[in-house]
């Protein structure tokens, strides 16, 4: 009987959020703190020839200037903290000025004169691939491996920028929705025999598609504050993970790991943009060291658009064959990613979504990520998978129609199950119950009944029903757990998991409480700053925290339990196997009067020392965890272990969404009438927060499929929508606010709590369901774009093809 898992509780930080008392990085001040502001590039491509800061430095109150010369050089295409020889997008930071007030710093920026040399620029990948098209970097437009590839997913080792051009015929073909014959790619894989697969097909569809990049726009911009004391850097930052930052940030500051105190009590959103230390942290920390004063580098909303990362867009073509029985027999997929100035296109993940959705018998994937002179790109909530979900769902509906199959049945026929595979390597999964989610969702949404209702609602209103799948790999292995039982008998769970709003930092700690059978009110989560002795953690990208860190806390608890049993065996005889725990005691199974309370066990651990109180620890834990154990050694009974739980396969996060919309064909506007989603994420560890994740992700799905996109002026490379208002993240008026969120709740066999992650696919499911519903409302029309905005709908209804994907595949522009 579970005591903590699957039960609601209030994470300890929630009261501080509703009172405003919890502190984000920008809420901290330090004695003598100065204010730094960034000067950013006004042009999309070029280099700095000369900086004249004489007038600025003469101003009263100006303390100093910090430029690329003050940091180690960074070779392209790495994203530098401050640019000089390679300016690659409008808004790229060039220098920082520090002053006694932010007003003076801002004014000083106006007095700095910079001579630039302009370079050609490009905002559309296909334009760059065209013969004689501009390249985003002087060296080229794509990253090409120069060494043998490692296993799939391994980082690129040995690569250089090259200029790749396609024949005009290939560009024209892709824009027209045909295979780009003769095109060069940088990444290809295949399994099976696609020609044989297409030969078996009863129906084949062939479609172009285009999805837009867009910024994360976490509501808390990435302001940092740093100061130094006795050689240690105290750094207030905003990160998705408390601990995954530390090693990289220490390297940026050129200090040993133990000399960095990273403080991050709360993070105002991340969504993939704050996974690791971001380059701009180097400015704050190093500028503070140079000035020998605390420095706060405040990032404005506009700057957060520039430097806060963005989803990669894609232009592509897909050909899919389906057999008479509804099984997808072959997929041929081409993706050109818009990598912005950092590359990082997520085409492989997009292809992975296709493998999960269709489990195709044969598939080929060809891919290239092209640099453009637009903002840096990186992971954004389900990168690759979710935008693919948005454009694939209406195509899936078209396939189902082509063979006369219900759309839900078609998905059940093809989708991933526990024996299925994901990705080009056809790797296994830990478990998958997507068919169960489809069935449960169809019941909750009344799919059959709604499907029989008329589409014409009278007047200008049309009904549209959609169904969609969201998928993302949702779990990692091999991180560390660390906890302590104090002499007060309380459980102190040390967590390096960040507090970015998912509350998984708290939910994962419940695994330790469950294992140790200790009431939650006798547990304390120790977190928020690294000098509280926090273990190494995952970067908390990829929806992985629940799976990953319930395991780490579980193994740390098992270590503590074993140590308590060993202590009891020393005191009462027998071996550890003769003992068990319960009621916050460790006792002999044969005679429960012989035993110790947790408090007594902690005192005995301190007397015994060595491994019992953390003086000794396992060899295989991360250096950061080693520092943490060393710090807390001798303060109680310490449980510490690396997650070595055996198992294979990727833990998948899967969500099915069902949506009904009412579309007004006079205006192109639609209302989302209903949304129901069902997750296959194993055991739901924290129900209340599960619902929040499901609904928050659905809001993101509406943004992806309906609202959000980069818009650049192709003549000047200027972004047109740097603010929230123009970027259009959904408000509560854009989304349904009375929705259904359920879980299949079948435990995953490779997690002691049964849980897997779910953060990212929540978006993909809603995005897919919306684009599916739009096609349904429009009588089968495929836009093959994400987002589909109101003006595109009205353009289509007016008989204008300008806004549809086919024929242009234009991206990053109007």
């Amino acid at each position: 009987m579970s005591t903590h898992i699957g039960k609601d509780f209030t994470p300890p930080c929630v009261p501080g959020k509703v009172t405003g008392e919890i502190k984000y990085a920008e809420d901290y001040k330090a004695e003598g703190m100065v204010f730094a502001r960034l000067l950013t590039s006004p042009m999309p491509s070029g280099r700095v020839v000369n900086i004249d800061a004489t007038a600025a430095l003469r101003m009263d109150g100006v303390i100093g200037i910090f430029t690329a010369d003050d940091l180690p050089p960074v070779a392209p295409p790495a994203n530098p903290a401050l640019a000089s020889d390679y300016i690659t997008y409008v808004g790229q930071p060039i220098l920082a000025v520090a002053a006694t007030s932010e007003e003076i710093a801002e004014t000083a920026l106006d007095r700095i004169r910079i001579d630039f040399e302009r370079r050609d620029f490009v905002v559309d990948p296909l334009e760059s691939l065209s013969p004689n098209g501009p390249d985003a970097y002087p060296e080229g437009n794509a990253l090409v491996r120069t060494q043998e590839e490692g296993p799939e997913g391994s980082p690129i080792v040995g690569a250089q920028i090259k200029s790749i051009k396609w024949p005009q015929s290939a560009i024209d073909a892709l824009r027209a929705g045909q295979e780009p014959v003769g095109a060069e790619f940088t990444n290809e894989w295949a399994f099976g025999d696609i020609e044989a697969g297409f030969a078996e097909a009863a129906a084949i569809i062939e479609e172009p598609f285009v999805t837009m990049g867009y910024p994360h726009h976490s509501l808390e911009a990435r302001t940092c504050m740093a100061y130094w004391e006795n050689g240690k850097c105290y750094f207030h930052g905003s990160s998705q993970s408390q601990s995954a930052n530390n090693a990289g940030l220490a390297r940026m500051l050129n200090i040993p790991l133990e000399d960095l105190v990273f403080i991050n009590e709360a993070t105002g959103g991340g969504f993939g943009s704050k996974i690791g230390p971001y380059p701009y942290m180097a400015i704050t920390g190093n500028f503070s060291r140079v000035l020998n004063r605390p420095v706060q580098l405040r990032i404005t909303r506009e700057q957060e658009f520039y430097i806060g990362s963005a989803r990669s867009g894609m232009q592509g073509w897909i050909k899919t064959g389906v057999k008479e029985d509804g099984k997808v027999s072959a997929v041929d997929l081409v993706i050109v990613n818009d990598g912005g100035m950092t590359g990082g296109g997520s085409g492989n993940s997009s292809a992975q979504h296709v493998t999960v959705a269709y489990q195709p018998e044969n598939m080929r994937f060809r891919h290239i990520s092209v640099y453009t002179n637009t903002t840096p790109r990186g992971a954004q909530r389900g990168p690759g998978q979710n935008e693919m979900a948005a454009v694939l769902a209406p195509m899936t509906d078209k396939l189902a129609e082509a063979i006369g199959m219900d759309r839900v049945e078609f998905r059940k026929r093809n989708v991933l199950d526990s024996d299925g595979f994901q990705g080009g390597s056809q790797g296994p999964v830990t478990s998958a119950f997507v068919r169960e989610a489809l069935d449960q969702g169809a019941r909750a949404f009344n799919w059959a009944e709604r499907s029989s209702q008329p589409k014409d609602l009278g007047g200008s209103k049309r009904r549209g029903l959609g169904v969609g799948l969201g998928y993302h790999g949702a779990g990692g292995r091999g991180y560390d757990g660390l906890l302590r039982i104090g002499t007060d008998g309380r459980l102190y769970i040390h967590s390096g998991v960040g507090n970015l709003g998912t509350y998984s930092y708290a939910a994962t700690c419940r695994a330790a409480a469950e294992a140790l059978q200790i009431p939650w009110e006798r547990c304390e989560i120790v977190r928020g700053r690294s000098d509280r002795y926090l273990p190494h953690s995952s970067g908390q990208g990829g929806s992985n925290t629940i799976f990953t860190h319930t395991r780490t806390n579980w193994v740390a608890a098992q270590d503590a339990i074993m140590k308590m049993k060993e202590i009891a065996a020393m005191d009462f005889g027998g071996t550890a196997a003769d003992y068990e725990i319960g009621g916050e005691r460790v006792f002999k199974t044969a005679d429960n009067s012989q035993g110790l309370t947790y408090a007594e066990a902690a005192r005995r651990a301190m007397e015994l020392g060595s491994k019992f109180s953390g003086e000794q620890y396992p060899d295989d834990i991360n250096p950061l965890t080693q520092i943490a154990v060393q710090g807390m050694a001798g303060s109680g009974l310490v449980g510490v272990a690396k997650d070595n739980i055996p198992g294979v396969g990727q833990p998948p996060g899967n969500v099915i969404g069902f949506m009904e919309i009412e579309l007004d064909i006079d205006t192109g506007k639609y209302e989302i009438v209903d949304y129901a989603s069902v997750a296959d994420c194993g055991t739901v560890v924290h129900p209340k927060n599960f619902e929040n994740a499901m609904r928050g992700g659905a809001v993101w799905g509406v943004g992806l499929s309906g609202l959000e996109k980069h818009v650049y002026d192709p003549q000047n490379g200027l972004p047109a929508n740097t603010g929230l208002y123009q970027c259009k993240p959904p408000t509560n008026m854009d989304v349904p606010v009375d929705t259904i969120a359920q879980g299949v709740n079948i435990p995953d066999p490779q997690n002691p709590t049964g849980g897997r992650g779910i953060g990212e696919p929540t978006q993909g499911a809603a995005a897919a369901a919306l684009s599916s519903a739009l096609r349904d409302a429009l009588g089968g029309h495929l836009f093959n774009t994400a987002p589909v905005t109101t003006d595109m709908i009205i353009d289509h209804l007016a008989g204008n093809s300008y806004s549809s994907g086919a024929g242009t595949l234009k991206t990053n522009t109007f």
């Binding site: 929630v14 007003e103 801002e106 509501l219 989304v735």
Partner: protein, 194 residues
């Protein structure tokens, strides 16, 4: 939001205060172009029921004064240009974006920030407690603003419908998308769901 606060009125305020508006949206919505030459003036502000003397520049926004002069950091600056609502406070009981109000313009008014809505004995406001019970916040950065808009709504409409709550909170962006949970929180605070 306060229907009396228009863009025109705000810009007029900036002009009267002798500063020029820019779109830079730094801490200073209205940036002083002449550097450090702007003079602060000591004024008394009525903040959370207390009179607080504070030196205020002509161009200073209320959000800036609260956060950086009075250390009331519960008020968050999400955009600093009237787009997100994270800085929402009450001015004479009406919800306003503190980033879009000049401090000099509120010297005769009662300002309530997130720090001012708990009872004197520390008891949370019904909205705050309901937001805890509904687990409404996610990252929490927009939460103080959501709380203030909800408090303003319930003071004028103690039993709003779900749609009225939606409208009442529509000026508060939540990038995490926790809208439904905030709306449920307001309905709980109004006693309509338990």
């Amino acid at each position: 939001m306060n229907s009396k606060l228009t863009r025109r009125r705000f810009i007029k305020g900036v002009i009267f205060s002798g500063a020029a508006a820019t779109t830079g949206a730094g801490v200073y919505l209205a940036n002083a172009q002449n550097g450090a030459g702007t003079a602060e003036r000591l004024i008394n502000l009525n903040i959370n029921g207390r009179t607080r003397p504070v030196d205020v520049m002509p161009s200073e926004t209320l959000a800036y004064t609260l956060r950086y002069k009075l250390d009331l950091t519960g008020t968050k600056i999400g955009c600093n240009r009237g787009e997100c609502g994270a800085c929402t406070v009450l001015i004479d009981g009406v919800a306003n974006y503190a980033c879009s109000v000049l401090t000099h313009n509120v010297k005769d008014k009662a300002v309530v920030s997130i720090e001012g809505i708990k009872s004197a004995d520390g008891t949370l406001h019904a909205v705050q407690q309901a937001f805890i019970d509904e687990n409404s916040p996610q990252c929490g950065f927009c939460t103080p603003g959501q709380v203030m808009s909800a408090v303003a709504l319930l003071s004028s409409n103690p039993r709003p419908t779900r749609e009225e709550v939606r409208t009442g909170l529509s000026g508060n962006l939540c990038r995490c998308g926790a809208y439904e949970h905030y709306i449920n929180g307001v309905l709980r605070a109004s006693g309509q769901i338990a």
